[in-house]
Symmetry: C2
Subunit: 444 residues, 2 copies
């Protein structure tokens, strides 16, 4: 099943927020303002580019997320840069690394989205990527004049049509539409302009766009949905998929399913890259890496953490002895049996106390690689070989040290093994990811 | 009436498009792609900053404007960068100059607009300005799913409420809301967050915003409307007004009217700057400047130009001898008598042929200062002294030479006379314009 040994990993950096771990900003030596300090972000992206990462990726939200006040006051995410403005600024201080931004199909307009990504793609000379989201967070609707959040199926229906309109607007001009002949005075060849005139169920957009076709033809299309309509939309349209599989087996299922669906609609399975989010903690020994993670988890607020544990167990954990192991006699309840069992298993395997277990859940509970450069490279090689991933979306534990550990220790190990590029071979994000430049549907 | 002699001019540069003159891109030695080339735009803004301009200003449109195909194919405006992305990129290569962007209240959402300007203001360390427009061009509606363009009064009603919401969102956090205490784990003081909960006739927006209060409190508020509701909106909300008066007298009327309206609603008249758009052509002699302008006008496409002249005269001019003066016997019609008379007067005063007159109208027909640094400085001093302007929005005739002429010849002359700053005294756009930082309406 494994592809030829020339297969290499793709690595993108999850950078909004700069860490998904809620204790990250408190880690000893970490920048407390890493998420909202341009000088820091500039040094991070330049370091990621020096390490030959495929892209710098910004997730996004259109609201302050609904959380209990105790969690809210401890969160580093309330203040963040808006993706288009930050990526445009960072485009000037980098040359090769891709610049991917999340933008919503539910609370924005296709003309704006098409135009802004085209502009970013021109400014960066072909490095833009659009992470299409339908904005699941119901808090957002209230910031956009709607009391009712759009229903899931309705959001996906609009997203599919929105994609058609945006890509159609990107194709408004042939690549050779602009002549700029000072002698004759002809700036544009009018035969090379296409007026879209889209009229669909959800959207009505005339066009043409007021900016030339993007350098990449279209910016790279990214998606993160894992629901059934999310997978189908990804299969039909995405060129990279950010996902959060629990483990190797779950990722293999997702990988096979999405690539199979893509082939079913006539696409090349290699033109869609599966990039699971992976939290990476590097140590000089496995034990040191584990200790770093325990230290980081210990910075999560206990009251918030114990609430998460109670929900997962389906049983009030606030009365448990925080410094003892999980009791054996937790009553069986209606909570998800899978979630409950996996938490109990985790506590046993790692010998975690109630406090440590709660703080693990409250910190970052997803897929994690915690070890030495060598053990992490071993794990990544398995994921690559067994068709569970084409690479990873790296989630950093704290900054700058956790990022330094990846770029200075893990990446050289991956390069030594031939699992990651030594240098960029192209200049655009499409070239980094091995994706073709889309043909213009109106001109050829 | 004149204010103290310490009064100085403010100068902003009209940079989207980089020239409003339709022949600009064809001028001998001009960059044909000046409007869509990042390297050129970077050198322009750095030159404007070295000349101590207050701001770099981008007008905007949300559609390709409706024009005859002959004009369309000769226009340099079809492809332009989107303002937020370009200004964010340029913020990194400049330190002081203001960055003003046009954004529409009709076709965008206040949460997006508030957030993007806040982000640009943080990235640029307090240099953002928002030119509020209601988007008069009816072509735009068709790119945003609406067959009917919003009626003028309705657009202004929404604009006023939109401004309240955006400024309210900017005030979501007290300036000292973010503590980032790594020891205690408290990142944000929850008592310093305000939830707007706006529910008005046009808009319903909850808040809070997901970014800290802008460096300037609020980015500088700019407006360009000259209609009655436009003047009133400016008087109530604007801190700088871009306008296009025909001449000194018209500008004095506008200046007195808007400042009077501002005082009537309790504002300080000095906290609202009137900055008429002025097309500037500099020569070593007045004659040389006039010849530059004639040369530039001669690059305007004659067929398009003669159509403009016919409309203004209310009479078909295509049969006139292009190389002779305007005939004496143009029939009187229903066309605007003022427009007709002013065109006939212009032809007589400057001794223009039919072709030259047509090309003047088809090139740039608004307020122009054409002369030596000394004669232009004389004129500007009169406008300043007679309360017709607080400065100018400079429209360049062609680039780079027309811009070089302003920064290297006119600006030093203005500085020599004490009419323009020798250096920036502050770091923010508000400081350049002499505007106070707004108090937060929810925290003090």
């Amino acid at each position: 099943m494994a592809e030829p040994t020339t297969k290499k990993l793709h690595l993108t950096a999850f950078m909004r927020p700069v860490s998904l771990h809620t204790g990250a900003w408190r880690y000893p030596g970490a920048y407390a303002d890493a998420n909202f300090n341009l000088a820091h972000l500039r040094s991070f992206i330049q370091e990621l580019e020096a390490a030959k990462f495929d892209a710098f990726f910004m997730a996004d939200h259109l609201a302050v997320l609904n959380m209990p006040v105790e969690a809210l006051k401890r969160s580093q995410t309330l203040t963040s840069f808006e993706p288009f403005t930050l990526l445009s600024a960072l485009s000037v201080v980098t040359e090769k690394i891709g610049l991917a931004a999340t933008a919503s199909t539910t609370y924005d307009e296709p003309y704006h989205i098409a135009r802004r990504f085209a502009s970013l793609d021109h400014l960066s000379n072909g490095r833009a990527g659009w992470n299409i989201v339908t904005t699941g967070n119901p808090e957002s609707s209230k910031n956009f004049g709607r009391e009712e959040h759009l229903e899931h199926g309705e959001r996906y229906k609009r997203a599919r049509e929105f994609y058609d309109v945006v890509t159609g607007l990107w194709d408004s001009y042939a690549d050779d539409a602009f002549i700029r002949d000072q002698e004759t005075g002809i700036f544009t060849n009018p035969d090379k302009i296409h007026v879209l005139n889209h009229k669909g169920d959800e959207l009505s957009v005339r066009g043409p766009l007021n900016i030339a076709r993007p350098v990449q033809g279209w910016p790279v299309i990214i998606q993160a949905g894992q629901s059934d309509p999310g997978r189908q939309l990804a299969a039909e349209t995405a060129e990279a998929v950010f996902c959060s599989p629990r483990n190797l087996e779950a990722s293999k299922e997702l990988y096979a399913d999405i690539k199979g669906r893509a082939e079913a609609v006539g696409r090349n399975r290699n033109h869609l890259k599966i990039l699971p989010a992976a939290f990476i903690v590097v140590g000089d020994t496995v034990e040191e890496a584990k200790q770093k993670r325990l230290k980081l988890d210990s910075l999560v607020h206990y009251d918030s953490a114990i609430a998460s544990l109670s929900v997962t167990l389906g049983s009030d954990a606030s009365g448990f002895d925080p410094d003892a192991p999980l009791p054996d006699d937790i009553p069986d309840t209606n909570a998800s049996k899978t979630g409950r069992a996996s938490v109990i298993k985790l506590a046993q395997e790692e010998g975690l106390t109630v406090r440590q277990l709660a703080q693990r859940l409250g910190g970052f509970a997803g897929l994690a690689f915690v070890g030495t450069p060598s053990t992490i490279a071993d794990e990544m090689a398995v994921w690559l070989a067994e068709d569970a991933a084409d690479g990873f979306t790296v989630v950093f534990p704290f900054l700058p040290q956790g990022l330094d550990d990846v770029t200075r220790k893990l990446v050289p190990e991956l390069q030594r093994r031939g699992l990651f590029r030594e240098d960029y071979e192209g200049t655009t994000l499409r070239e980094h990811l091995g994706l073709p430049r889309p043909k213009n549907r109106f001109f050829d």
